[in-house]
C-alpha cells in the first residue's frame, strides 16, 4: 500500500491534540494542587471540604493517563475499540472537571480559566475522536 493522506485514517490533529493535552494537563494538575494549598492557608477550609476536592483532582489525574494512552494507541493503530474506550474516559474526565469548575469549595478565577481551557480541549478531542472512529469504522 502506498502511504498517502487519503489512505491514512489516523488523525494528525487528534495526535497533536493528545500531545498538547498531555503537557497542559501536567501544568493544570500542578497549578490546581498549588491553588488548593493556597486556599487552605488563606481561607477557612475544613477537612470535610478539602478531602472531596483533592480526591476529585487525583482521580482525574489517574483517569488522564490511560485516557491519553488508549487514545494515542487507538489513533495510531486505527483501532476504534481503544479510541472508544478513551472517549468513555473523556466523559468521566469532563464530569470531574465540571465539578472542579462549578462545585469546588472555592472557585478562583484562575480555576475557572484553566478548567475552561481544559474543557475546550476535551470537547475538541471528543469531536476529533468521533470523526476518527467514524473514519476507522467505515
Amino acid at each position: 500500500r502506498i502511504l498517502n493522506s487519503s489512505s491514512q485514517l489516523s488523525s494528525l490533529p487528534l495526535q497533536i491534540l493528545f500531545y498538547v493535552n498531555g503537557i497542559y494537563y501536567i501544568f493544570y494538575f500542578l497549578a490546581t494542587l498549588a491553588m488548593i494549598v493556597y486556599k487552605s492557608q488563606v481561607f477557612s477550609y475544613p477537612d470535610e471540604f478539602l478531602a472531596p476536592d483533592l480526591a476529585v483532582l487525583f482521580l482525574m489525574a489517574m483517569l488522564e493517563v490511560p485516557r491519553l494512552y488508549l487514545g494515542c494507541k487507538g489513533n495510531l493503530r486505527e483501532e476504534e475499540a481503544a479510541l472508544g474506550l478513551s472517549l468513555g474516559l473523556t466523559v468521566g474526565s469532563v464530569v470531574l472537571s465540571v465539578y472542579l469548575l462549578a462545585w469546588q469549595t472555592y472557585v478562583l478565577w484562575a480555576d475557572v480559566v484553566l478548567t475552561a481551557v481544559l474543557l475546550c480541549a476535551y470537547g475538541l478531542e471528543s469531536g476529533l475522536k468521533v470523526t476518527a472512529i467514524a473514519a476507522f469504522v467505515s
Binding site: M35, Y38, F43, A102, Q104, T105, V107, L108, V112
Partner: protein, 546 residues
Amino acid sequence: PADTRGAAPARAYSAPAPVTDVARLCVCDLLVAQCDISCCCDPDCSPEEFGLFTACSVPVVTGDSHLCRQKAAVYSLDVEANPPERIFQLTDQVNPSIFCIHATNYKQALYLRSPEMPTPENFDDLLNKFGSSAFNAEPESWTVDTDPPEANETQRYEYGLPIQTEDAFLRLPSPVVSSWCSDANPAGFLVNQATECIRSVSVEKCESTRALNMLFYINSSILAVSMFVFQVNISVQSVVVQSLAGTRTLLKGADVLRLPLILDGLCLNVVLGVSYHITYTDTGEIREAAAAFVLGAITKETLSIQQSFQISFTQADTKPVPLSGNPGYVVGLPVRAGFNPQGYPFPAEFLFAALASSHKHSQLSILQSTPTQDCLAAQGARAPVLFGHNVVSGCKLRITAAMKCQPLAQTLLDVLKGQSFPEYVASFGNSQAQDVLDWVPITHLHVSEQRIPNTLQSSCQIPVSFGIEVKWTKYGSLVNPQARIVNVTATLTTSTLKQLPSGRERTIPITSSVVFTDISSPAEPGYKAWPTISIKLPFDFFYPFV
C-alpha cells in the same frame, strides 16, 4: 427546681440571623431611633442632621474583598449642595486579582460562624468542649494534667493568700466601688492593709447588727496553716473607748468582751475600729492573733459611722524596728532620733535609750497647729518630723498683765520643744543604736531678739520661735544616691517680754519650723584627657650613621 424545667416547652433558640445585604448593613448605627454622628448610613438621620456632618465615618460597606465581584454600598456627603446631602450608591466592586474568589460552595466560608445554641441535649457536649478555661479547635491535642495535688499535703500560707478561719476567711471590711463597707474582703497573708469605710447604723438595730459587735471580729478562730485543723484564737489586745466628743481612753482589763447595749437613747460599745496583729513564723504558719478595738457610741441622730480596719504582720521572735530608709532616708518617713544617757563620746559600750518611732516620746517632733491656735491650750499635739518635708507651724500666745515671765517661758519651751527633745539624730535611715558614729548630735543655738537695743536690765526672755534646720547630702553612687543627714541645728529665738499695764493684753505669734537643706556638693565639670600621640622612632632608625 426540676419540675419547672420539665414543664418548659423545648423551644429551639437560635441567634438572630446575620444581616448580609450590603445596602441594609450599617455598622455605625449604634443608637436606636436616634441619629448617630457622622454615620451616613443611619436611617434615623434627617437631612438637617446630615448637614451637620463633616465626613462619613463609614464610607464603604462591602463584603469580603476576596470576591471577584461584589456589591458595595458607598456613602458620601455632598458638601456643595445646600443643604448638604448624603449620597448613597450601590456599586459593583471588582477585584482584579487572578486569585479572586469566583464562587464558593461553602456557606460559612466568608462569614463568622454562629455559635451553637445550648439545648438540653447538647449541653453536656458543649460543656466538655468549652467549659474549661481554654479551648481550641482540636481538643485532642491538649495534654491534660493528670497528677492532682496530694490530699495530705498541708499548704503553708504564702504571700497574698486569704487567711482562713473556721468558717470562711478573716474579714477586713473595706469599701468596694463606693464607700460603704463590704464584709466580703478577705485579709491576705503578709499584706499590711488599712481600710476605712462607712456603715449605716441606727440605734434601734445596733444590738442586732453584727458588724457593730466585737464578737463578729474575733468569733471564728484562724487556722494556723491553711486547710489544717490547728486553730489560733483571736485574743483581745486592748480596748479603747471613744466618747461622743472624740476623746479616747484606754480601758484597763482588756479581756472583757463589751457588747453593744442601748442606754438612754445611745448605743454604747459600737465597734469603730479594729486593728489586727498577726504573728507568723518563717515557715508560713500563724502563731498568734490579737485584735485591738476602738469602741464608740452612737446617738439617735447618727445615720452612719466610719469604721477603720487595719491588719499588720510581725514575724515571731523578732522585734521590728521600722526603718526610715535603707540606708538613705526616704522622703516622707520620720527622722529617727534618740538619747545617749551616758554622754558622747564614751569608749565604754553604750546604747541609745529608746530609739525613735518605737517610742513616741523620743521622736523628733514639731508643734502641730491646732484649730484653736492657742499655745497654752495646745495639749501637746505634736507631729513627727518627716524627712524632706519642710513644715512651719505655730500658735498664738495671749499675754495678760497677770502672767509671770519665768513660768511662761518654761511653758513655751515645753510647747515648742516637746516633752523630751532628743539629743541625737540618726544619720542614715537604718542606723543602729550600737554604731555611735552614725548618729549626729543636735546643735543648739540661742538667738535673742533685742527689741530695744539699749535695754540694760536683763529682763526675762521668752522663746518666740524654734527652728530646726537639717542639712543633708547625697551619699553613695551617682546612679542611686542615698540621703544622709550631716548636721542638725536647732535655733531658739527669744525676745524680751515687755511688762503690760494691767488690763491690757497682747497676742504674739509663736512659730516653729523644720527646714531640710540639701548640701550635696555640686557636680564639677571634668574633661577627658586629650589623647597624646606617642611617637618613638625605632632604635636603629639611623642605622649606618648612628
